[in-house]
């Protein structure tokens, strides 16, 4: 374990060096993410100029949900970005072969090879939004509740990661699963608003089929409406673990399919 932390650190240092090679790109990347998140918030802000609540949820509460989503997806965005190009850059042109002749787990190498700086901007916005929204929603921020918040945010990113590893692993069978990854990932936008604004079909889809609901709405609602969403908050870490387990299972199956083991 320690070996892999050290090794990751070496990869990481090189990534930072590469980023500094392309300083202009680095700045544009960060700015663009800041701008996108800012625009999304501004949109919500404009809408809330016209109304007080949306299905009973206030502006500050929506911002809080938004903030949880931002933090959760930022962690996924920063550290798991290479999943996107796995099919194109590793399966299609044989880059995956190279990983298999090196003495480290292929998944570790894949993850270590990229760090996406754009996600840093997202994480900063998320933290800033949390610090704005958290004091306004009437929760007492003790050590315990802070810890719970951090655990729920980590669970949120685990949902993102697990689902993405699942769709990414499909590349083992279909060469490049990027279209699938993309269409599934875009569904996560639903989770940025209170799920109650959607009809039943979408709500259950986002809860039980593609559980992006647990990336933002349920963890946030655990604090905002504990009377209704206590259970959903508690099962968030379980869903996060479950997603990662399923993702890992499909990945392993994919590798076995690739190397021709079993089947």
């Amino acid at each position: 374990m320690l070996r892999y932390i050290k090794l990751y650190w070496h990869f990481f240092k090189l990534r930072v060096q590469i980023m500094m090679e392309y300083r202009l790109d680095f700045i544009i990347g960060i700015l663009s993410v800041l701008f996108i998140q800012g625009a999304g918030l501004f949109f919500v802000n404009i809408v809330f100029k016209q109304i007080q609540t949306i299905r009973g949820w206030s502006f500050d509460e929506v911002v809080f949900i938004y903030a949880v989503a931002c933090c959760g997806r930022a962690i996924h965005h920063i550290f798991f970005d290479s999943l996107w190009v796995f099919g194109r850059d590793y399966i299609r042109n044989g880059g995956f072969d190279r990983m298999l002749v090196r003495p480290a787990p292929a998944f570790f190498q894949l993850i270590a090879e990229r760090v996406q700086q754009d996600g840093v901007g997202q994480l900063l916005i998320g933290i800033w939004l949390l610090s704005y929204a958290a004091p306004t929603i009437g929760v007492e921020w003790t050590f315990v509740s802070m810890t719970v918040l951090i655990i729920l945010i980590l669970s949120s990113s685990m949902v993102f990661i697990g689902i993405h590893v699942f769709t990414c692993s499909l590349s083992f069978w279909m060469t490049d699963s990027m279209p699938v990854q993309w269409s599934v990932h875009e569904m996560s936008d639903f989770a940025r608003y209170p799920l109650v604004i959607y009809n039943r079909v979408i709500q259950s889809l986002m809860t039980w089929i593609i559980p992006y609901g647990f990336t933002a709405f349920y963890p946030a609602a655990y604090f905002l409406r504990p009377e209704t969403y206590l259970k959903m908050g508690w099962i968030t870490p379980i869903i996060g673990f479950g997603c990662c387990l399923i993702g890992a299972y499909v990945w392993r199956k994919g590798v076995r399919n690739f190397t021709g083991t079993g089947s």
Binding site: E21, Y22, L24, D25, I28, G29, I30, L31, S32, V33, F35, I36, A39, F42, F43, I46, V47, Q50, I51, I54, R55, D118, M174, P179, V180, W182, S183, E186, M187, D189, F190, Y193, V196, I197, Y198, N199, I202
Partner: protein
């Protein structure tokens, strides 16, 4: 002369059809975004009759049309930047056609093909489920079609300027993301521009972005009528000319860089 570009446009229609996985994922993503926004606005209205002069039905019509149109006001920046990055550009410059017109012809071809296969079915489906409105007058309908065509050309020209930046930037991802966010926000695809605060509306007026989406869809939904309608059409054409000149200027500076540094 024109026939050459027509053939190129046709060839990219075939190319567009050749990737079914991307087609389906694009369809799914676009559809789910439409559902998300329609659900969002429905929840915002929640029994209210008018918000900022909009009723729910015309706002939904606006949202569906503007989000779809936003998908098509892009261009060939991806291909152009790839040509530049790989050095293929020097070969392209020797070919007997104008590179900008060639890229535009191809992109317009792909756009038309994709519109037929994605936007038209989606509009019909949404019209059936959510009872979209018809254009307010026959004239508005005709002008809508005209301004959509101009908007696609304008979007193409702006995108080519973005693509040209590959002469200076190594990694185009950030810039492209930034452009997408800028478009989405300022062209009125996310929210009708007349809901913006006054200062922002004023700021937008000095950019080409409203011409891309807000002008056509505003005309369709009867937000822009009478004299301002004709002015908006004129401004749109003016932007085409201005952006075209800017593109050629930027291009010339960039090419000087190629001849100096040898690509």
């Amino acid at each position: 002369m024109v026939k050459k570009y027509l053939m190129l446009a046709k060839s990219s229609i075939h190319l567009d059809i050749a990737y079914p996985a991307w087609y389906w994922s694009h369809l799914i993503v676009t559809f789910s975004k439409l559902v998300l926004m329609v659900s969002f606005w429905s929840a915002v209205f929640d029994g209210k009759q008018l918000i900022n002069g909009w009723d729910l039905s015309s706002l939904i019509t606006y949202t569906v049309l503007s989000m779809l149109l936003n998908e098509y006001v892009n261009g060939a920046s991806w291909e152009l930047s790839n040509l530049i990055r790989t050095g293929q550009i020097s070969v392209e410059l020797l070919r007997p056609y104008d590179l900008h017109f060639r890229l535009m012809a191809q992109d317009v071809g792909a756009t038309i093909s994709n519109m037929m296969r994605t936007a038209v079915p989606l509009v019909l489906f949404m019209a059936f489920v959510y009872h979209l409105q018809f254009p307010v007058t026959i004239l508005a309908g005709i002008l809508f079609l005209w301004t959509v065509m101009v908007a696609i050309v304008l979007g193409n020209l702006i995108d080519l300027i973005i693509g040209t930046m590959a002469f200076w930037l190594e990694n185009m991802w950030g810039l492209r993301v930034f452009k997408a966010a800028l478009f989405l926000f300022f062209n009125g695809a996310l929210i009708p521009l007349n809901m913006f605060p006054d200062w922002l509306q004023y700021l937008c007026m000095w950019t080409p972005f409203p011409s891309l989406v807000y002008t056509p869809v505003g005309i369709f939904t009867g937000r822009i009528v009478g004299e301002p309608m004709w002015i908006a059409c004129f401004i749109q054409l003016l932007w085409v000319v201005v952006i075209f000149i800017v593109l050629r200027l930027v291009w010339r500076v960039a090419l000087r860089k190629v001849t100096v540094f040898g690509g």
